[in-house]
């Protein structure tokens, strides 16, 4: 049976050696596949990065209270009375003085100029109570200091500093009719909060005409993960129409809306993949036509039609795998570790980093192989059917 493999191998080698004769067409096929794979990987890397940013954001030691049905912080709203009432609920951790540990917060949208494209984009600005600093995991003031209550001072997340212009320590920034001074920079170890600006809640309420309303309450749980006592308290009071979730659950739900990115990426790449497939088919049919006399000559010599089939399939696979690798490398060069921001479910910027993991690489190569296999199958079948008498026909 050694002849079986050596003839297939010989035909594969001959096909590959004949590629320079169809250089441009082959390069075009490689390019088409590489674009498809690069696009797929860009989307998957984006989704992955997003997922990891949001996953890093939540903890079950903290709970978030929003108005029922609001789905995001931005749509939520509650009065100061509601906040004061719910703060008396059992299940909320208390400090040494016996006061509940919570931060009533509100959320406004301001504009910034992105460094990357000099375009305006939204930045969430959060009014928090000084206690709110203690209600974020891994929070660190890396430069400057906290804002002082009652003053137009902001501390900026590191993500904002990276992505937007003009938020360096000591800078004055104008939002609407008021000026704010950057007095500090904070880090939360890469989580979504880093894409925010923080200021004193009452000051934000007055400067942005929010009266005494808040949007969310963030609190520390007495028992990590246990929101049940608070939920019961809320359910027993008909005035309170609120959702209570751990922070981990809250962000996981937000992130779920964004798995759509990955699905969209797959749909887009499959549609583009069909284009690349058409290109691969065309390239391979051309290859078979160009090699028909060589194929027939080999068949006359005694080579099997399986070798003609496998040779063509191998050529197709080689082209598409080369394209897949080129696309993956391009995606890696351009996107891995690339910091970006996008509109989250709350219609605000979440800064995140594209993550190209080995699994995503594998997905890209699988897509390329699929294009190569399908694009090579029918032409390979035709190669196997080339009539041997073709060897006796025609001139050069």
């Amino acid at each position: 049976m050694r002849g079986f493999f050596s003839q297939i191998w010989t035909v594969v080698v001959m096909n590959v050696l004949s590629l320079p004769r169809r250089l441009w067409m082959s390069l075009a096929a490689i390019f088409a596949v590489s674009v498809v794979v690069a696009v797929l990987l860009a989307f998957l890397a984006m989704a992955k990065g997003f997922e990891q940013t949001l996953a890093g954001t939540g903890t079950d030691r903290i709970a978030i209270i929003t108005r029922t049905g609001s789905q995001s912080e931005l749509n939520s709203s509650m009065s100061r009375d509601t906040v004061n009432l719910v703060a008396t609920a059992p299940g909320i951790a208390r400090d040494a003085g016996g006061d509940p540990v919570y931060s009533a917060e509100l959320y406004v949208i301001v504009d910034g100029i992105k460094r990357s494209n000099q375009l305006k984009a939204n930045i969430p600005m959060r009014g928090i109570s000084p206690r709110g600093f203690g209600l974020r995991e891994q929070l660190e003031i890396v430069e400057g200091r906290q804002f002082e209550p009652g003053r137009n001072e902001i501390v900026v997340g590191e993500g904002v500093l990276r992505q937007f212009e003009g938020f360096e320590l000591g800078r004055e920034i104008r939002f609407g009719k008021t000026n704010w001074e950057v007095v500090g920079v904070f880090s939360t170890g890469g989580s979504a909060f880093e894409s925010e600006l923080w200021a004193d809640a009452p000051t934000v309420q007055s400067q942005f005409q929010r009266g005494s309303s808040f949007q969310t309450v963030r609190l520390r749980l007495e028992t990590p993960g246990d929101v049940q006592p608070i939920l019961e308290f809320v359910e027993n009071d008909p005035q309170l129409i609120l959702d209570v979730e751990t922070e981990a659950d809250f962000f996981a739900n937000q992130g779920r809306a964004l798995t759509g990115i990955a699905i969209f990426g797959w749909i887009l790449s499959v549609v583009m993949g069909l284009g690349a497939l058409a290109g691969a088919l065309n390239t391979m049919y051309t290859s078979v036509a160009a090699r028909a006399r060589e194929i027939a000559t080999l068949r006359a010599i005694g080579f099997s039609n399986i070798s003609a089939f496998m040779g063509t399939l191998a050529e197709s696979l080689l082209l598409s795998v080369l394209g897949g690798l080129a696309g993956a490398i391009a995606a890696w060069l351009f996107f891995d570790g690339f910091s970006a921001s996008t509109l989250g479910a709350s219609f605000t910027q979440v800064v995140f980093t594209f993550e190209l993991t080995p699994e995503l690489f594998r997905d890209g190569i699988v897509l390329a192989v699929a294009i190569g296999l399908i694009g090579g199958l029918f032409p390979a079948w035709r190669a196997a059917r080339v009539p041997v008498v073709t060897a006796f026909q025609g001139g050069e």
Binding site: M14, I301, G302, S304, N305, A391, F392
Partner: protein
Amino acid sequence: MSDDILFDLRGISKKFVKGNDTITVFENLDMSIARGDFLAIMGPSGSGKTTLLNMLGGVDQPTSGEVVFDGKRVDTLSENQLAAWRANNVGFIFQFYNLMPMLNAERNVELPLLLTRLGRGQRKKNVAAALELVSLSDRAKHMPKELSGGQQQRVAIARALVSDPKLLLCDEPTGDLDRQTADEILEMLTLLNRDYGKTIIMVTHDPEAAKYAKRTVHLDKGEFVAKELAA
């Protein structure tokens, strides 16, 4: 059946169906070819020379009738059995050489040996011997495009005989060559027939080429005609 008959064609018909038309190339053709023969097939264009050669070489099959080679029927073999049969018994020489342009001379000559059980070392020896026979040892590493037409045809002859088949089938082997080069090629075929016992069947338009053969048959409209008698 006599032992020195290599090929026996019995009642061969060959029809091509093209849409509603049926082209009948052969109708009930009989033919015998002796072992060790050097046969030239001549005839006008369209008379069926290539079609006949293809059926002898097992690359095309008769519509009806029997092709018996060495006492065994080959017209009933499957496509892959035929491929194996060709690999063992037939060497082809084409008008346009049909060398693989991406392989050098010795790789081209080696191709038929890849279908055998020979190891690399033995293959190399056989390739060298075949190239020696066609006086191209010094061109072993040359690519086809670096060789003249006559040299390419000699490489093709080396390829046809490297696996030591009994039968060489040539379709216009000198059709693309000038007189002097053609004579060299034909002398080489004569040598292979005389000294190596190859049975050679050669289709040609060229009466000069036919003179090298032991025997010439004339085809016209799918039938053998006795040219000598008619003339």
